[in-house]
């Protein structure tokens, strides 16, 4: 039996709340803070979706920025070329364009995933890295989307409401997915591929599924990015961007959604928090500290901040027991 209340009412209420907060959000905070929050939202979507592949399915993708680029360019191109194809309202158009961007990214994910997910470990990492870079180089050479000049004048439609709404949808999808039958299959692929295959799980198919869903959300994140920054350049989606997302996933803990959320926020805010240091020393130490933190964290706490636990598990383990 489908529990209607659990399935529909709760998400509906949260989305409504996102929309409501989104309405008053610009009046409450200054532009700097808003930018940080929306960047955090974009990074959360990227990290949680990549966690589905890297954390839950145990595959190793470092080309997430390529799918983000595909979604960003698709949605921005639609907005620029057909401003009112889905009706007179900017918001509805934006919603459908975001989905279109996500679908293109998912299609790209299918095309990339189907041949390359046969590979394992480091090889898979390098192939996804290669595909990510190829998407970027191809975009650099398409003149219809500006090529190396970039794409200007995208209307600024993505507000806090949209970003937060998509974050919620992404987290909800991934968490419900991994707690479902399909999710068990993903986990079994991660734990032992040969054993999973021997109990009748089509491992390649499940890997591709995880990859496609993950790419879809990367595309959505790209669309929000495009409609928030109002300018796109292929070089924003380079190798470093992919690495950033991988770092978020590993920092938070592979296979922990709440870990990814926390890590995405930390990674977004850390360079900003270190800005005063740069002003004092007149040297850009931020990235040095970032990289050192990364190395030290890997040496001292290799399972990430949360390991495989969620916030709810930690709550049960430490807080409720003590009371």
């Amino acid at each position: 039996m489908i529990n209607v209340k659990r399935t529909l009412v709760f998400p509906g209420l949260v989305l409504l709340a996102c929309w409501g907060v989104g309405l008053i959000f610009p009046d409450l905070f200054n532009a700097y803070f808003q930018t940080l929050v929306i960047y955090s939202c974009i990074n959360i979507i990227l990290a949680v979706s990549l966690n589905l592949v890297n954390g839950f399915t145990g595959q190793f993708s470092i080309g997430h920025a390529g799918f983000m680029a595909a979604g960003a360019y698709m949605s921005a191109w639609l907005t620029m070329t057909f401003p009112h194809w889905a009706g007179p309202f900017l918001g509805i158009n934006f919603f459908f364009n975001t989905i279109a961007g996500g679908l293109l990214a998912a299609a790209a994910g299918y095309g990339v995933g189907l041949p390359s997910l046969r590979l394992k470990g480091d090889y898979l990492a390098i192939v996804t890295l290669g595909f990510g870079e190829i998407i970027r180089v191809v975009l650099l050479n398409i003149d219809a989307v500006g090529g190396a000049r970039g794409m200007y004048g995208i209307p600024k439609t993505a507000s806090f409401g949209w970003a937060a709404g998509w974050v919620f949808i992404c987290i909800l999808t991934v968490s419900r997915l991994v707690n479902s039958t399909h999710g068990r299959a993903f986990l079994s692929v991660r734990e032992d591929e040969i054993a999973a295959e021997s109990v009748g799980i089509n491992t390649t198919q499940y890997k591709v599924r995880a990859f496609v869903i993950s790419s879809f959300f990367a595309g959505v994140a790209g669309a929000i990015f495009a409609h928030f920054l109002c300018y796109l350049n292929p070089n924003s989606f380079n190798f470093m961007k992919s690495i950033d997302v991988v770092v978020m996933v590993v920092l938070g803990g592979m296979g922990s959604i709440s870990g990814s959320v926390v890590a995405a926020i930390i990674i977004t805010l850390l360079p900003e928090a270190l800005r005063p240091l740069q002003e004092i020393t007149k040297l850009d130490f931020r990235m040095v500290i970032y990289s050192l933190t990364l190395i030290v964290l890997m040496l001292t706490k290799p399972q990430g901040l949360f390991g495989k636990l969620e916030v709810s598990d930690i709550w049960k383990k430490y807080v409720r027991r003590s009371s």
Binding site: N54, F60, P115, S116, L119, K120, G121, D122, Y123, A125, I126, V127, L129, G130, F131, E133, I134, V137, V138, L140, N141, I194, F239, I243, V246, V247, V250, M254, L283, D284, F285, M287, V288, Y290, S291, L292, L294, I295, M298, L299, P302
Partner: protein, 302 residues
């Protein structure tokens, strides 16, 4: 036809640089199964050590082979020490951790070197000192095909270093220990081979080769900057995968193929796809022959 040969010569010269860097990747991968992302930045540091040592020795404007080899050896020694430190401080503690952690650490070291480089060396590109003068040493009568001294030096230095490496790996005790460690490090240590020392030596040798690559790139394309390693490092890594990672001959072959293919793509008018080509080659090779051209494919057993 002349253009073809000219591109071929340029490609082989570029390819021997890729091969030198690819050797470092393939040696480390062969022993530790780790993609040493920091290798490309060791190469960058090598170019900068060359830059500063030429300044300190006051040979920035006196081109001669003597100065070239002095700078080359200083850079190789410097990077050897750097490679040793990287292995000792960052990679040794996580040797038994999951692969992904090792990879993230490698990326962390790479970022650390890049951004420390931006602070220490400055983010603006520098001009590599003129430690070797260029001249045409061979030219066809029409002048369509020419071999410059730079190309010849790069090729000969590269080949010389590869011969030295080949000698070390196959004729010395150290090389024998390295081969044993890469075959099975646990058994090697049971046979009394000091595995830690051997792994350190692998890093030292690989980093020294990367430094040589840095100097050779410096004399041919004299613009050096802290982020110069990213792209060439990726391409050298692809060269290593193309040849069959863990296989020294494969790295050289892959490097030459990459260099030649790239020069042809640039020479015949698709210069903007230069970077996509490398990844295109990589993807095709991994999909159809995942172990690379000269590698052996091993099937995972239960």
């Amino acid at each position: 036809m002349e253009a073809f040969f000219q591109h071929l010569i340029n490609g082989i010269s570029l390819g021997s640089i890729y091969a030198l860097i690819a050797l470092g990747y393939t040696m480390v991968y062969g022993i530790l199964q780790l993609i040493n992302f920091a290798h490309s930045d060791v190469y960058m540091v090598g170019a900068f050590i060359g830059f500063y040592s030429a300044r300190w020795l006051h040979v920035s404007d006196s081109p001669s082979y003597m100065n070239f080899f002095t700078v080359l050896i200083i850079a190789m020694v410097g990077c050897g020490i750097l490679g040793f430190l990287i292995e000792r401080l960052a990679y040794r503690p996580i040797r038994n951790a999951p692969k992904l952690n090792a990879l993230i650490t490698a990326i962390g070291v790479s970022l650390f070197l890049e951004y420390t480089g931006q602070i220490v060396f400055g983010p603006t590109p520098q001009v590599f000192p003129n430690i070797l003068s260029d001249s045409i040493i061979f030219s066809t009568t029409s002048g369509g095909v020419r071999i410059t001294r730079f190309d010849a030096t790069i090729l000969l230095t590269g080949v010389g270093l590869m011969i030295v490496l080949e000698y070390i790996i196959h004729k010395t005790k150290l090389g024998k220990a390295m081969r044993a460690t890469s075959y099975n490090s646990q058994w090697a240590s049971l046979m009394g081979i000091p595995v830690d020392t051997i792994i350190s030596m692998t890093f030292v040798i690989g980093s020294a080769l990367a430094a040589a690559g840095g100097i050779l790139v410096g004399i041919k394309y004299p613009k050096i900057e802290p982020l110069m390693g990213i792209m060439i490092g990726l391409k050298a890594f692809i060269a290593a995968v193309l040849g069959g990672i863990g296989n020294l001959g494969g790295a050289v072959l892959g490097g030459i193929i990459m260099g030649v293919a790239e020069e042809f793509v640039v020479g015949y008018g698709a210069a903007t796809y230069r970077d996509a080509l490398a990844f295109g080659i990589l993807i095709i090779i991994l999909l159809f022959r995942p172990a690379g051209l000269l590698g052996h494919f091993s099937v995972e057993k239960v």
